[in-house]
């Protein structure tokens, strides 16, 4: 925990300088957001402006719909992504920001805005994706070329395993539930698969789905056998402690794996583009940012807007350049951002922003573990997941 505090303190120090410049805040504002370095930095800056109470929670997505439905809303603003924006916009819980941007948002980049039917509903702070992180020293010692496809990655992992230089050649966020399903989603897109037919009935029980499962099973043999409890933080730690040589990990962790305060192998890890499936890069592009509640006073909304702008001020971004792929002004892509930029410059697609994928993602989340543990064969697994999706989507009114 200590390094985190240092990080926050660093952000506070930046904030302290700014508090006297232009971000004095007098209206009480409450924020809720995901919990990882970029949000720690931004909420740290906001705290420096005064009267801000921040809640950082990995499971914030489970709270925000209900919290913002209250009147007045329990929080003034929330962090938002492609996926969490769907229920918030559907239920009309967010305030259109165009007027506030006109007043206070001159320093923002226009491509930070999430516009729906011409109205700006959220402001992105940074982009996120998943890409290869690898131990440069191990790969060059063993004479392995940097893998660009999942097949090369598996071949490289087998060589590393044979050499026995690390505990396990790779790590992967394959925790049962959302993470495990997310791995399937990315790989399936990488194989060029579409999840639905034209009438939104499921379409994953096919050759592409089988190929993905086969690859996931193969990956399982190259990891710590406890991978079904391993989430992104767990993989980050494996990387920091030198237990693994490669991982296809969230770009938001690229700073942390090389952070000398946390990592025993800092400086030895390099970034490369997300790995390719047979059709395209098997990674998805996400945006992460802030949105303001509809059910709060204009005064509070304006204060929230000023805080959002302050949290992405140029000097904040410059001081924390390597902690995220910032979209705001002042960002200079460094070594840490290389993987993410190469992924985006390739053909990776955004994570779908619709209701059906939510239902599919949870059907995958509860259905895939049985395959990974060997209780079910691939064809049964895919058929069962399709059936689970259909009954779920029917109950939620998405399918007739």
């Amino acid at each position: 925990m200590k390094p985190r505090h240092c990080l926050l303190a660093g952000a506070m120090a930046v904030a302290a300088n700014m508090a006297f410049a232009d971000c004095m805040n007098t209206v009480p504002v409450k924020t809720i957001s995901n919990a990882f370095p970029a949000y720690e930095i931004m909420t740290g800056v906001m705290a420096g402006c005064g009267n801000v109470e921040s809640e950082l929670d990995k499971d914030h997505r489970l709270k925000i719909v209900d919290a913002f439905s209250a009147n007045p809303s329990l929080y003034s603003m929330t962090s938002l992504t492609n996926s969490t924006s769907v229920p918030m916009i559907d239920a009309d819980l967010l305030r259109p920001l165009d007027d506030l941007i006109a007043m206070h948002g001159a320093s923002l980049n226009p491509h930070q805005f999430i516009e729906i039917d011409g109205k700006t509903m959220a402001i992105a702070a940074f982009a996120n994706t998943q890409h290869l992180m690898y131990r440069e020293d191990i790969l060059s010692d063993l004479g392995i070329a940097v893998p660009t496809t999942w097949d090369e990655y598996i071949a490289a992992a087998e060589k590393i395993q044979a050499a026995g230089v690390v505990d396990y050649p790779i790590g992967h966020y394959m925790k049962d539930g959302w993470n495990l399903a997310f791995v399937f989603v990315n790989h399936y897109l990488g194989e060029g698969g579409g999840f639905f037919n034209a009438d939104w009935t499921p379409s994953i029980n096919n050759e592409k789905g089988m190929a993905v499962l086969e690859r996931m099973a193969k990956l399982g043999t190259l990891m710590d056998p406890e991978y079904l409890v391993s989430d992104t933080t767990f993989v980050t730690k494996q990387m920091q402690q030198g237990k693994i040589a490669m991982a296809n990990l969230w770009a938001s962790r690229a700073g942390a794996v090389n952070d000398p305060a946390e990592s025993t192998v800092s400086g030895k890890i390099l970034m490369a583009a997300g790995l390719r499936g047979s059709e395209r890069i098997a990674s998805t592009i996400w945006w992460d940012g802030w949105a303001i509640a509809k059910n709060i006073s204009d005064e509070e909304a304006e204060a929230a807007m000023k805080l959002i702008v302050a949290s992405m001020a140029e000097d904040v971004i410059q001081a924390n350049n390597d902690d995220a792929i910032w979209l705001a002004k002042g960002f200079v892509p460094g070594d840490a951002a290389k993987g993410a930029f190469d992924t985006a410059a390739g053909d990776a697609v955004p994570y779908p922003m619709n209701k059906y994928i939510g239902s599919m993602h949870s059907a995958l989340g509860s259905g895939l573990a049985a395959f990974m543990t060997g209780d079910k064969d691939a064809a049964t697994t895919l058929a069962d997941i399709e059936a689970a999706y259909v009954s779920d989507a029917m109950e939620k009114g998405l399918l007739k």
Partner: protein
Amino acid sequence: MKKKTFAIFVGPSVFMMVLFIAAPLLSVLWQSFHVTQPVYEQVEVETCTPGLLGSVCTTELKTRPLLSENGKILTETTFVGLQSYRNVIEPEKLRTAIASGSWRDLMNIRFWAALRFTLAFTILTLPLVLGTGLLIALAVNNTLQRIKGPVIFVSLLPFIITPVIGALSIRWLFLGDGILTAGLEWWLDRDIAMFAQAWTIELMLYIYRVWHVAPFAFVVFYAGLQTVNNDAVEAAIIDGASRWQRLRYVIIPHLMPLVIFLTLIHLMDAYRVFEEIVGFSASAHVISLQWLTYEFLLQDGTGARAISRASASAILTMIGIAVLLGVPLRRVWREQMGS
């Protein structure tokens, strides 16, 4: 007691029970037979989202819920009979599994896998909890007066700890190279991964529950031991009864009502096993009925919940508890009528 006095004393409790237990239960029962869905419309929406290299704008047909005049999502509720129950227990798959006689197929249906674990968990931990509780109680009862206080305090600690916290701390002892796993590896000289297969996780869940609940059995038994009639014990000693015979024929019969009380409480609690599954991240390998309900209730990535199946699953859990409690309750009933 006069009827009126009785009513005054019982009234507040009955009121609370109706408000906080009966009414929600009825609502769950009602929801298990109905499905409430938003009313969707198909609209063309232009969306611009930030990419790393600039904005990406797309126009596509989206499914969006209609909003009512006061800004809430418009929903409609339909009666679906037993459909939600069918979706939970999946009778077709059950029939195929039974027809083919395949245990593996049966265990691949989530509800039946959850039921299997929940029953095994409830029934296997019961004798262990009772036995361990009684052993601690006897041990404490026989220790020196001076150290009794500290011994009772230490024995109670596992029960005081919040279940989720207790489960998490034990998980950390075993996860990855946690100190206990590392210790076992050193002792047995082999690689051990406690969280990689179902049986080790299940074993940890059992051990954790016994560790956590045995202190409660201990407190109850310890209180019971204070009321054992010393004359009867002395008479047994004079008759030449051994320590074991005194336990078997004098003390345990005296504690029998407490055994039944603890059994009832344990059956009710253990059948609703949930915290352990969360704490040990066991869901990939074993799930319980309560976990299944939780999973239905959990929002998916876009904020929707399967309330009807969650209600059906909750009602099925309640029916399960009622059936399990039937056996000891009938015994109590007969004893009450007999005396």
